[in-house]
Point group: C2
Chain length 342, copies 2
């Protein structure tokens, strides 16, 4: 009822400003969007009116028109998984730095959910980052045909991708274990649909072959601490004296369970994780891990999207897909080392 001068809550449009400033709505749009195309006088008029009414352009209307929504989507397989935290952070800050908003969604490790979610958010975004996607290559390419897509931790033909180069980190890890007297190294794998899990295993096998060690694959039920605990028995039974794990939480679960079974770490068994997540140095012993530059992966994926966005002019050359490879490295902490003969 009360006519407050700073009436909050009322939707103010360019028409309101036009009325106050005494110009046409299209002029308001110009004054605000491309100030150089109006006279200094009207610009001032419009700006003052806009300030007075506390005007804020409706991004939805703008998006409907020129197709640019100003938001980028990020879909992760599991929002609970701390491996993604740095990636989310990297993407988020890169987005903010470019005046974009980040939309976060998750697929719950399900390929079909992932596709649904992607299709659902695609119209409201300018592009989508898929972190460790679980869906098929053709599905990803189809999404990429509609709007720019960048995948992290996977390589898909003709789609921008950011993949850690696992080789250096794994080679370091194997040398480290070999020099510690380990001869048989287990790999606790990630989800079947995880492309990067396959690459890590391949790389481990190659490194073991090269150094004359034995590598063996042990599947896990889930890439969680619980998954690591459940695999402990099989790991011990396998005769391996060291394990590389698909990720750090898996490694921490494994280590905890082994310790509960009185296995001394690292004297009797070495555990190495992947990703260097927050808290991986809190354990006793602190976890040795192969670090992937996830924050940088998020940032890089975002810039790939940015680069793929249709520029103002025409985009004549459909540039080849961007391929960023980020080097991994071994961080030696207390959970790995020399094997003491029983």
């Amino acid at each position: 009822m009360a006519k407050s001068s700073s009436a909050a809550g009322t939707k103010v449009t360019i028409y309101d400003i036009a009325k106050v400033a005494g110009v046409n709505p299209s002029t308001v749009s110009r004054a605000l969007g491309k100030p150089e195309r109006v006279s200094a006088k009207t610009r001032k008029l419009v700006e003052e009116a806009a300030a007075e009414l506390n005007f804020r352009a409706n991004p939805l209307a703008r998006a409907l028109l020129n197709g640019r929504t100003g938001t980028i989507g990020l879909i992760v397989a599991d929002i609970t998984n701390p491996s993604y935290f740095d990636m989310i952070r990297g993407a988020q800050s890169a987005a903010a730095a470019n005046g974009l908003t980040l939309v976060l969604a998750e697929s719950a490790e399900s390929a079909s959910t992932e596709l649904m979610v992607a299709q659902r958010i695609q119209p409201s975004t300018d592009g989508i980052i898929l972190a460790s996607p679980r869906m098929s290559d053709p599905e990803i390419r189809a999404l990429n045909n509609t709007k720019p897509v960048a995948v992290i931790n996977r390589s898909v033909e003709s789609v921008d991708s950011v993949v850690p180069d696992v080789e250096p980190g794994i080679a370091e890890a194997v040398r480290h274990l070999a020099s510690g007297g380990h001869r048989k190294i287990a790999f606790l794998s990630g989800p079947d649909a995880s492309w990067i899990s396959g690459r890590r295993w391949d790389s481990l096998r190659a490194a073991c072959e090269w150094t004359g060690r034995e590598a063996l694959l042990i599947p896990t039920t889930a890439p969680t601490a619980e998954g690591g605990r459940r695999a402990a028995r099989e790991v011990v039974a396998s005769g391996a004296t060291a394990a590389l794990c698909y990720n750090d939480v898996l490694a921490i679960g494994l280590m905890r369970e082994l310790q509960a079974a009185q296995v001394k770490i690292p004297d009797e068994f070495s555990v190495i994780g992947f990703d260097n997540i927050f808290g991986s140095d809190f354990t006793t012993p602190a976890l040795t891990t192969i670090a992937s530059p996830f924050s940088e992966a998020g940032t890089t994926a975002l810039s790939l999207i940015l680069a793929a966005l249709p520029s103002d002019g025409s985009d004549p050359l459909p540039a080849p897909p961007g391929r960023a490879a980020l080097p991994t490295s071994l961080i030696v902490r207390g959970s790995s080392g020399r094997l003491l003969a029983g």
Copy 2:
């Protein structure tokens, strides 16, 4: 050039479907949106055409019209801070469960950034959750006048809020310390703009008074591990034998620094954190902490927003703001206990 039958990448609108189905665009809209208002025959026609063309309604256009965007915003002070992870997760899964998309943004602990971000994303959302907001009460109320706002970890007049009830957890902690022989308890505070930090300190002081202990406030430079390390010297100098910390990372930083200075924990000094973050049980000794049900806070905040959304009919009674109070509790682990006389 090639006319693929499953042409991906082309924007398909209700007009395309109308053409294929041989009906008016408005009928397409009805058939898809309120199927009960069209004949079974046309519904089938439209549905088939939509399926064939792989149609997906543009949420932007819809939002522009009826104001419902189908997305909820979540603004956190610091995306790096693991205290928020569970909250983000709770809000995200609740949103997904309701067919909504979650937009994540951060304010970098700055009140002005926070306001800007909130204003920026408000038009594209149906409501906003503010986690530990730093801006002023009137600013929050103004946002709330435009679209529903729910705040977490703060109480703002006439705005929906979810606040942990710090009292039980802190009372437990003080009893725990008192029975361990501690007489002087320090509180490492959070950011000045943190409402909840103030509540925690108030509650600690009251509990200490009640049990005849001395409480003292020690300010910190940042709610991070580094902030905790920096405060260690002052904590020791103060003569306190136990510290309650604004959050777990602060506590972990403090503990690490004390241990580096050869202070035995918990024999010579007890450390208690807040929030029970991921990894807080990885430390040695594991961190005693006061748990706030953050995941539930995220979920609850989302349902408050949902409840505040203008329903289809009129919303006659402007319901009083929702106020959820979630109980905290002490989780005793190894970093706190009986004080051994030097």
